[in-house]
């Protein structure tokens, strides 16, 4: 535009300004509140999913730090008998240990009693009676193993199936495959909580990274403090109306630019601003638990906004209701190198009721059938003592459990040896867990690939994986 044309434009503008609101203002008024309906849910590449879909979504309860299976779900009376005695060398010789590498290995009996619970009298640690009360809905796997033995690589392996950074996490894979059902929330949401005890192992954002998949599939962290989503809140002094006016103007100007250049990215950008504006309303609505009944709050045992694991479980249910595909909760402080007895007591107080509540609540709402809940740490812990009161990292045995989403309840799958050192019966790998989860979501794990660095990269890796068909309902 030349200066002459501009002068003309300005004159015309002044005229419009005097005589009427002008087309711009009219357009603006109609755009002032971008319509939520215009934002579409994220589409997946697998539509429809190739297999029958038993689970529409996942809630993954990550117990970060490495929960001791020996003080939670794996009953080992023999270990109690051998407490204080040397660990049989035949078991441990030449094997990978973490901080106990090269040290004298002594058996360390379970620090809490176990009691029969659930329909089949399954022995669980007595600190977990609430989980015990819903064992009928739970499949407990006692024979899980992993490759990694340090927190960071072990989380990576559990989330991405690889110990090398840069791979997509499972939540990204699943949203990439299935998309999301929510138009105004991300498809993959992450929440973290911290318990008492102070073994607060760091968790890197790479754990919910989309890796080599497009960034729109990355996990979005919902935070307990500050903006629940980064940069969600308007700047100081700015109301939602004012924000809406700006977004309307941005989108109108972008649309004009689009008409001139035909760049398809512009339409996408307009949609992203609409989505951002929608999220600015929907996320606070999601976080506002005022509508939750006192009974529900009592069930979970939380106060809204207290940032607890229980509160996050309730948020997880709300996210699930809103169509979010993959919800991952991290509850930290399970790294009990010392003081495992007290440590587990704290953890039990923090998670036992909440886990039961989540299962019960979903069940009451008819959502447990199509929601797959997974409870897992990144590795297990040694039956050997560390420093007389704790346990070291351990990758040959760990307990995980699944519920809902077409998983057989009331089942105990696999077992470890008498001392809980190694999985011996129906040994499972992390890749098997992933394959099973994908299977329940309607995805063939061995066919769900993306070309990366020349390979058909899969969540379940190159070594092969098996769907754990025995645990499917």
């Amino acid at each position: 535009m030349t200066a002459e044309q501009l002068r003309h434009a300005i004159a015309r503008r002044a005229f419009l300004g005097k005589t009427a609101q002008g087309v711009g203002a009219v357009a603006l008024a109609s755009l002032a509140c971008p319509q939520p309906a215009s934002a579409a849910p994220l589409r997946g590449v697998l539509a429809p999913p190739p297999l029958p879909q038993r689970a529409k979504r996942v809630i993954w309860l990550t117990m970060a730090g490495g929960p001791s299976h020996l003080e939670t779900f794996d009953h080992k009376p023999k270990l109690a008998e051998l407490d204080g005695q040397p660990m049989p060398e035949s078991m441990t010789k030449g094997q990978q240990l973490a901080q106990l590498q090269g040290q004298k290995l002594v058996c360390f009996g379970p620090q809490h009693a176990f009691k029969p619970m659930g329909p089949n009298g399954t022995h669980l640690c007595e600190l977990f009676p609430q989980i015990g009360s819903v064992l009928g809905d739970i499949c407990l796997i006692r024979s899980m193993t992993t490759d990694a033995i340090n927190h960071d690589p072990a989380h990576m392996f559990m989330n991405t199936g690889s110990q090398i950074a840069g791979r997509p996490s499972m939540g990204s894979w699943v949203t990439y495959g299935l998309g999301s059902e929510s138009a105004d929330l991300p498809g993959f949401v992450v929440l973290t909580s911290l318990g008492k005890g102070g073994q607060n192992q760091p968790i890197a954002a790479r754990q919910w990274s989309s890796g080599f998949l497009p960034s729109r599939y990355q996990g979005v962290q919902l935070r307990g403090k500050g903006d629940p989503v980064l940069y969600l809140g308007n700047p100081a002094g700015m109301t939602r109306d004012r924000q809406g006016l700006d977004i309307a103007a941005i989108n109108a100007l972008n649309a004009q630019h689009d008409a001139l250049t035909g760049d398809p990215e512009i339409a996408t950008r307009i949609a992203q601003y609409e989505m951002a504006f929608a999220m600015q309303a929907s996320v606070p609505g999601l976080m506002d638990m005022a509508a939750e009944s006192p009974q529900t709050l009592d069930l979970y045992g939380c106060r809204p906004g207290d940032g607890s694991f229980a509160s996050n479980c309730l948020l997880a249910r709300r996210l699930a209701e809103r169509g979010v595909r993959f919800i991952q909760l991290y509850h930290k402080d399970w790294d009990h190198h010392g003081g495992v007895k007290e440590g587990i007591t704290y953890k039990a107080q923090e998670i036992d009721r909440a886990c039961m509540a989540l299962i019960t609540d979903l069940k009451n709402r008819g959502m447990l059938d199509n929601t797959l809940i997974v409870w897992a740490g990144e590795f297990g812990r040694t039956p050997m003592s560390q420093g007389g009161s704790g346990r070291d990292h351990h990758n040959k045995a760990m307990s995980v459990w699944l519920a809902g989403g077409g998983i057989k309840g009331g089942l105990v799958y696999g077992s470890t040896d008498d001392l809980g050192y190694a999985a011996v019966e129906k040994v499972c790998t992390v890749h098997d867990l992933h394959a099973t989860m994908l299977n329940q979501l309607g995805i063939r794990h061995d066919a769900f690939t993306v070309k990366f660095q020349g390979l058909d990269a899969k969540l379940t890796g190159v070594e092969g994986a098996n769907v754990l068909t025995d645990i499917l309902a």
Partner: protein
């Protein structure tokens, strides 16, 4: 076991016959000459090599299709006789037990691909060596023509496509400024260029931008991605390390146009070059950029193995464009890279001093000679003081022993512990501890206890005894440490006296020590270096990488460079020029660029200039729908492309427009505003994030503190990589987090309100003039009528609203650390802040086209 074709029944035979007898009238694509590298290798690689390729341990039926002789010997391929080739039989088979690729592989050849393979065999099954392993050949170009335009034009002509017209000058300068400096041009720059009548106006502009110190910053961004430069160690605690001088080295190298071969050698072996100096040693920080851990319980051998593979992957990504990492556990499935090649490459780095676990050392002091001299002087003073103190230590110790004896023998209460003491609580505490320790036998006291008693004796009991010597030592120590603490340090490569032993790790398992010991060696499938009679070292590796007959390096680097200027590499897969990558659309062009790069003695600025002064580069990115439909991904280059600029440049453009940008080059990484609590999941130690103040708040994006596990959220939103792994190509996404960041990140709110103050002060008196002025600042053009008609009502709605709500206006115009604009009405400023904000959020603003 390959079934005999005699058994073959069914439709495939007819298909093949039909194909071999195909009439000349068949579609053009069915008659074009087949090129193995372009047409066949990608099919074989993706569908067959996984089981019938280079990896011998996984090979099925002892059949190998990547080597012609073996494929022919096995009967899979009978050259000239498609119908007799078991390969053809199997790919056409309808029997799920026989068909190739097998159903469980989830690979499938479509009809066209099947036909192509059959035709290729029918025509003699001519193999070519993989294109990227052949030396590049420089095409002859008619005198007086530009090679890029000649080669692109020739291909366009065969395809019946026409190049687009040259973009207008405003677009050209904006494009050049973003591509060469990463900063938008000022309206004055644009005006000068638009009005420059000289025939070489464009070339002058290119030279001017190449000479800008911001050129090095722009070029550094891609390099820092591919070498995975970051301020933190990566794993677990993700603690800081001293590394930023390397980033500045990279910027300097591009600005000084350091020949790329030298640039490479300095990074891999800056400690080994004959003229090693501070600069080359900083460059050698390259070998230290990998991920490390401080996690308790981490096993040294585990992390030694991780580091070896990390370094080999880096060489593969940065220079060779090979996915060598795949060969850490098995021979490569698609490329002729063996496990031995992998570990032999790793062995080149076995001499690099690197703790397997734990905090990184401070690194080399990076300072000018006079400061190094001062440090040496202070070290000398400290050594002398230490010696003098050492001379009197026996007497001090004897006195202390006597005192200890007396105290114990006579059961003396220390003065601080007597009832009438005036000692402070801290003094009492110290004395209590000392008294307790004194009761222990000397042999049972630990190091801290012994030190505490010594300190108590020397400072409290007999402070005057050899006071001079003690003070001199304390002062010398403090002086030295204070000065040392103030100096810049950088992790660099330090050669170990004896290299670590490198073994092949079977299946990549670090606990398996049964593998063969491996010495440094060059991959067998690439041209060897002429080194005889000694073991090659890292310097040899570096020189080999940039040797004239290396087929990969120049291609890899030019392919990445091309992407910077056209949005896509000539071979689309930047980090893999192997079989699973993409044969380049313009192999002759990529080869020409690679040869020219080497012939110019690896002159990077020459190559950049050559590319951006081509007519191909200068084309408009706007094209008619038909042209776009003919080549949607713009691989044929009949137009330019448009794309959203990199994360760093999004920030830079906003800062530059607002006037807040501080254009200092280099220095420690900086901390722009970041949401509170963003680092809450970091620990050991827990960390706070104090945002930098003053000038450090307004630095370019590439200086942002690169926290690998929690990269700054605005950077992350715009696809800046975490740099945990080498990243040759960033994704370019378009996600709601980008909208949220541009709208609400205080950095962008602050730039908007500071820019708004400029609009009011510098933009003229009427709203229309101001809008026009603002448009020119941000987009280097005047607004169109419809744009004015959109923005004017926005301004007119916001202004009265803020006049009625002055408190809101006051808070909006105070976001950020920048001082509030003086003498401007807050409501007015707030309303213009909205206009500025809208402009800074536009797609066009953050797009280079």
């Amino acid at each position: 076991m390959v079934p005999s074709f005699v058994r073959a029944q069914g439709a495939w035979r007819e298909c093949v016959l039909a194909l071999c007898l195909a009439a000349p009238a068949a579609a053009a694509e069915n008659t074009a000459a087949i090129q193995f590298n372009r047409d066949i290798r990608p099919l074989l690689s993706d569908n067959c090599f996984h089981c019938h390729g280079p990896d011998s341990s996984h090979r099925q039926a002892d059949l190998r299709l990547d080597v012609r002789d073996e494929a022919v010997a096995s009967g899979a391929i009978v050259p000239g006789k498609a119908a007799e080739s078991s390969l053809v039989e199997r790919i056409y088979s309808t029997d799920p037990d026989l068909v190739m690729p097998p159903p469980e592989s989830h690979k499938k050849l479509d009809a066209k691909q099947q036909a192509l393979l059959a035709r290729w065999i029918a025509e003699g099954a001519v193999y070519q060596k993989h294109w990227a392993y052949e030396p590049p050949v420089k095409a002859t170009v008619p005198a007086g023509t530009k090679a890029i335009d000649h080669l692109v034009g020739a291909r366009l002509a065969t395809l019946g496509l026409k190049p687009s017209a040259e973009a207008d000058r405003r677009t050209l300068i904006r494009r050049l400024a973003f591509d060469l400096t990463g900063l938008p041009p000022t309206p004055e720059d644009v005006e000068a260029f638009v009005n420059d009548p000289s025939p070489d106006a464009y070339e002058k502009l290119v030279d001017q931008l190449l000479a800008s110190p911001h050129y090095g910053e722009r070029m550094a961004i891609g390099w820092l991605d591919v070498v995975r430069f970051a301020d933190t160690i990566g794993y677990h605690s993700d603690n800081p390390r001293n590394i930023w001088p390397y980033r500045d080295y990279v910027i300097r190298a591009f600005n000084d146009n350091k020949p790329f071969d030298r640039f490479t050698i300095e990074q891999l072996a800056g400690d080994l070059v004959p003229d090693a100096n501070q600069e080359t040693r900083i460059a050698s920080a390259f070998n230290r950029l990998l991920l490390t851990t401080e996690e308790g319980g981490a096993q040294p051998k585990d992390y030694e193995a991780r580091m070896l593979t990390d370094r080999v992957r880096a060489v593969g990504a940065v220079w060779l464009g090979q996915t060598i990492g795949c060969a850490g556990c098995h021979d490569h499935k698609f490329d002729p890279i063996t496990m031995r090649d992998f570990y032999a490459l790793g062995a080149f780095f076995a001499d690099v001093e690197e703790r397997a676990i734990g905090k990184r050392e401070d690194g080399m002091v990076v300072a000018p000679p006079e400061e190094l001299k001062r440090l040496a002087d202070l070290d000398a003073v400290l050594a002398a003081a230490k010696q003098k103190l050492g001379a009197v230590v026996p007497q001090l110790d004897a006195a202390q022993k006597q005192w200890e004896h007396d105290i114990t023998a006579y059961d003396v209460t220390l003065p601080e512990l007597r009832p009438d003491t005036k000692a402070t609580d801290a003094e009492k505490k110290t004395a209590t501890q000392v008294a307790a320790t004194l009761k222990k036998e000397f042999a049972t006291r630990n190091g801290n206890e012994r030190e505490a008693i010594q300190k108590y004796f020397r400072t409290v009991v007999s402070p005057q005894l050899f006071r001079g010597e003690q003070d001199a030592f304390a002062k010398a120590e403090k002086d030295r440490n204070d000065f040392y603490g103030s100096l810049t340090k950088c992790l660099v490569t330090v050669k170990k006296p004896a290299p670590s032993v490198v073994r092949i790790l079977p299946r990549g398992n670090w606990m398996d020590e049964s593998g063969e010991v491996i010495k440094p060696a060059f991959p067998g499938y690439l041209p060897a270096a002429a080194i005889a009679g000694r073991e090659p070292n890292r310097l040899d590796l570096a020189q080999w990488i940039v040797s004239r007959d290396h087929p990969l390096t120049a291609r890899v680097v030019m392919n990445r460079l091309w992407k910077q200027f056209f949005g896509t590499g000539l071979s689309r897969v930047l980090d893999d020029l192997g079989a699973q990558g993409e044969p380049p659309v313009h192999p002759d062009l990529l080869d020409w660029l690679a040869c020219e790069f080497m012939d110019s003695k690896w002159d990077m600025k020459h190559m950049v200039r050559t590319i951006v002064t081509s007519a191909t580069y200068k084309q408009s990115s706007v094209a008619p729908a038909a042209a776009i439909a003919a080549d949607p991904a713009n691989r044929e280059l009949a137009r330019q492309s448009a794309w959203r600029v990199d994360a760093e440049l999004v920030r830079d453009a906003a800062l530059a427009t607002s006037g807040l940008l501080v254009r200092t080059i280099g220095g420690p990484s900086v901390k722009p505003y970041q949401p509170d609590g963003y680092w809450e999941n970091l620990n050991f130690p827990a960390r706070t994030y104090p945002a930098d103040t003053a000038e450090k708040q307004y630095r370019r994006g590439l200086y942002t503190w690169w926290q690998r596990s929690f990269l700054h959220p605005s950077m992350l939103a715009f696809d800046a990589p975490s740099r945990e792994e080498c990243c040759a190509e960033r994704t370019r996404s378009n996600i709601p987090q980008q909208a949220l960041a541009l709208l609400n990140d205080p950095s962008y709110v602050e730039t908007s309100r500071v820019f708004a103050a400029r609009i009011i002060k510098e933009g003229g008196s009427t709203a229309e003039e101001r809008i026009a002025w603002a448009w020119r600042q941000v987009l280097q053009r005047l607004p169109r009528v419809e744009e004015l008609e959109t923005v004017m009502p926005l301004y007119r709605q916001h202004l009265p609203a803020y006049q009625a709500d002055r408190a809101a206006a006051e808070s909006l115009v105070k976001v950020g650390f920048a001082p509030a604009a003086a003498g401007v009405d807050a409501a007015e400023l707030a309303a213009w802040t909205h206009v500025a904000r809208v402009l800074l959020n536009l797609h066009e603003t953050i797009t280079r086209n």
